[in-house]
């Protein structure tokens, strides 16, 4: 067997995380997706919409602005939270891209569960950062985000159990893709389809888009969790959200739909955009009821169906 120097492996991993397919690549795809989102939203609303480079120059503009820190804020947490959130999204998107693009044998048994955890970290960091700012409106936003997190995690986990049952206990992303390539996508079964619908609603909530954007509800609590963030910290929070718009559809298509392809991503993106433009914002108690009663119920039915092999 050929000897590979550890430095080379290090460099390769660094390249994977920072440039392709990790940070830079995902960020560029995410910026493109967020431009599509803004443009389609604008066209639906009879507006013209921004040019293609708008999301990019928004970030550049934000990053050269001054950072203000409120008096009485817990500075370490306030500063750290956006960075930890961003790195969690970078990690998860790197894993997902590597598994999908099959750049060598990547991943490990149980990386599905790791990614599930990594994808909750941005929300938790947002909660921490908002609470650290000491603003009452941010506190309201943070409490809503916590409730939302509690609401959607339960059905999301149930939905993810379905592919695991159907593949007889595979917990590795690449194995799941290989299994679906051999036996057809999980979403083509009734149980997998139900689970995917549940996961799509959870994705919308994870992305914090209408109808589940109550944590930042502009007209109610003035951007809530984001209210005290400014400058590059806000840019990072926005970038995290933009990259999650890549990572989450990627995750869903990997787990339920037999791996990434451009048209699957576009379909999921269109679903996100349509849902956000044809609904008003729900109240937090209504969101809680929706996820715990309806979505969890549907997810449990999907699990039961998967167990009897449907």
């Amino acid at each position: 067997m050929e000897e590979v120097s550890p430095v080379k492996i290090m460099l390769k991993h660094l390249f994977n995380f920072i440039i392709f397919p990790g940070f830079l690549f995902t960020a560029v795809v995410g910026l493109a997706a967020s431009w599509i989102d803004r443009k389609v939203t604008a066209r639906v609303q009879w507006r013209v919409g921004p040019p293609w480079y708008q999301p990019f120059i928004d970030l550049v503009k934000l990053s050269i602005k001054e950072i203000t820190v409120p008096k009485g804020a817990s500075k370490p947490v306030f500063f750290m939270a956006p960075f930890i959130g961003l790195s969690a999204v970078i990690l998860s998107s790197t894993f997902l891209w590597l598994a999908n693009l099959e750049l060598g044998a990547s991943g490990f048994t149980g990386d599905l569960i790791v990614i599930l955890y990594l994808l909750t970290i941005p929300s938790i960091m947002l909660i921490l950062g908002a609470s650290a700012s000491g603003n009452p409106l941010a506190a309201v936003g943070a409490s809503r985000e916590i409730k939302l997190l509690l609401a959607y995690e339960l059905p999301f986990v149930f939905a993810l159990v379905v592919p695991i049952i159907k593949s007889n206990g595979l917990l590795k992303l690449q194995d799941l893709i290989a299994f679906q390539a051999a036996n057809g996508a999980f979403a083509s079964n009734i149980s997998g389809f139900l689970a995917m619908i549940v996961a799509i609603f959870c994705m919308q909530a994870k992305l914090g888009l209408v109808p589940f954007d109550m944590a930042e509800a502009e007209t109610e609590i003035m951007a809530g969790v984001y209210i005290e963030y400014s400058g590059i910290l806000l840019a990072i929070l926005k970038l995290t959200k933009i990259m999650a718009m890549v990572a989450l559809p990627l995750f869903l298509s990997t787990v339920f739909w037999g791996g990434f392809s451009i048209w699957k991503y576009v379909v999921l993106l269109v679903i996100i955009i349509l849902m956000r433009n044809t609904n008003p914002r729900v109240r937090i108690d209504q969101a809680l009821r929706f996820f715990w009663k309806k979505m969890t119920f549907v997810a449990i039915i999907a699990v039961l169906l998967a167990m009897i092999g449907m």
Binding site: T41, V44, Q45, W46, R47, P136, L137, A139, V140, S143, R144, V210, P211, D213, M214, A217, E218, T219, E220, I221, M222, N277, T278, N279, P280, R281, V282, R283, I284, D285, Q286
Partner: protein, 395 residues
């Protein structure tokens, strides 16, 4: 032990375009108390009116509000007509009615869009405002302006309508009816909009009487008060229409009342266009006797009231304005408490508040709540300062 926090809405907040201040005392997400503070935008309109001629005051009161910019001139000219004891020519009455009802359509569409925006439903916002455009186009064609139409004058109107415009106006209005149907369907059938608006911000009949609420806010609680019907003026008694009421009392009921009023207003305008008599549009009033008059108009937000006292001179001796939002905003105290913050924003918006119509001023000791100065004192203060400046300039 409950720890109440204060969530400020205002003085500058994305919820409202105008400066105002609501202090929500919240326990978690539940609103337990509300302080309403207005007075950030006081412009002394009534005082300025005393230094303008009667014709100029029409333009002045038009600028009280940009959205209901015909309601104040409507009520003001009604007051002058009452003072003079005259009725303007029939054609002028019809023109006044048409302008007033067109304004109701555009104002209600504007509110509908804003309500969508407050619920996070930006598509409704943009769509409602898009379909408001044809109404503004009609205004531009018949009055020359999209806002601030400057159509009214004491004893008549300033511009005549052209008969050749009528088919186009009718066509444009009729093309709006399918759009109204769409909004009606969107509001009545969308389960999430119903979930967000039904059963919140309820005002009972008793509350309506207690707070003397007017306009669609009252009609949504089943109280059918409408100046156009109760005390007919202009051409409102010459056309067929009905007062829209709803028994719900909540935000949903207010939305339904406003949407159904769109149809009634269109109906009134179409009838007026069909039945409009020919003739003069103006009485050409030259002299103003001493006396007093009141004028009322059902603005899109409710009854607007103007009082004019004349001493026979060139300008009003006293001019008093009461805008509908002044009555409606206080009812928020009843409607908001007990709901959540999410509900509070849409409830505050549901009365279609217009703060710049409403501003009053008084200086109050914050601790004791004792009134230190009223309007008279402020006038005196202002005059003293002028005197001081004058003497400074002299020396």
């Amino acid at each position: 032990m409950s720890t109440n926090k204060i969530i400020p809405i205002g003085p500058y907040h994305p919820l409202q375009e105008e400066p105002e201040f609501f202090r929500l005392h919240v326990d978690g997400e539940t609103v337990v108390d509300i302080d309403i503070e207005i007075g950030y935008n006081h412009r002394m309109i009534e005082k300025i009116a005393e230094s303008k001629s009667y014709d100029q005051v029409t333009f002045l009161v038009e600028r009280i509000c940009g959205i209901c910019s015909t309601s104040h001139p409507f009520a003001y000219t009604n007051a002058i007509d009452d003072l003079l004891g005259v009725t303007p020519p029939e054609r002028a009455l019809y023109i006044r009615t048409i302008v007033g009802e067109l304004e109701r359509i555009h104002s209600h569409l504007l509110w509908l869009g804003l309500a969508g925006h407050f619920l996070g439903y930006n598509t409704v916002w943009m769509w409602a405002w898009r379909y408001r455009e044809p109404v503004l186009d009609i205004f531009e064609r018949i009055t020359g302006n999209r806002n601030h139409y400057a159509m009214f004058k004491p004893g008549g109107v300033r511009r005549d309508f052209y008969e050749e415009d009528f088919p186009w106006i009718k066509k444009t209005l009729k093309s709006l009816i399918p759009k109204f149907d769409m909004f009606k369907g969107a509001v009545l059938d969308d389960p999430i909009i119903r979930a967000r608006t039904e059963g919140i911000g309820i005002l009972t009949r008793q509350d309506v009487h207690d707070y003397s609420v007017v306009g669609p806010t009252a009609r949504a609680s089943g109280v059918g008060i409408d100046v156009r019907k109760d005390d007919p003026y202009a051409a409102y008694d010459k056309v067929e229409w009905k007062v829209i009421t709803h028994e719900g009392g909540g935000v949903f009921a207010k939305a339904v009342v406003r949407i159904l009023e769109l149809y009634e207003s269109t109906n009134i305008i179409l009838q007026c266009l069909d039945n409009m008599p020919k003739g003069d549009i103006d009485l050409n009033i030259k002299d103003m006797p001493a006396g007093e008059g009141i004028g009322r108009h059902e603005a899109p937000r409710g009854e607007v009231f103007h009082y004019i006292m004349s001493d026979g001179g060139n300008s009003p001796a006293w001019h008093k304005v009461r805008a509908p939002s002044f009555m409606n905003i206080a009812s928020n105290k009843k409607a908001v408490i007990g709901g959540t913050i999410s509900d509070a924003t849409i409830i505050l918006a549901a009365v279609d508040p217009c703060y710049c119509c409403t501003e009053r001023t008084a200086v109050v000791d914050y601790k004791t709540g004792k009134k230190l100065m009223d309007g008279q004192d402020l006038v005196r203060l202002s005059q003293e300062k002028t005197e001081k400046l004058r003497s400074k300039l002299k020396s």
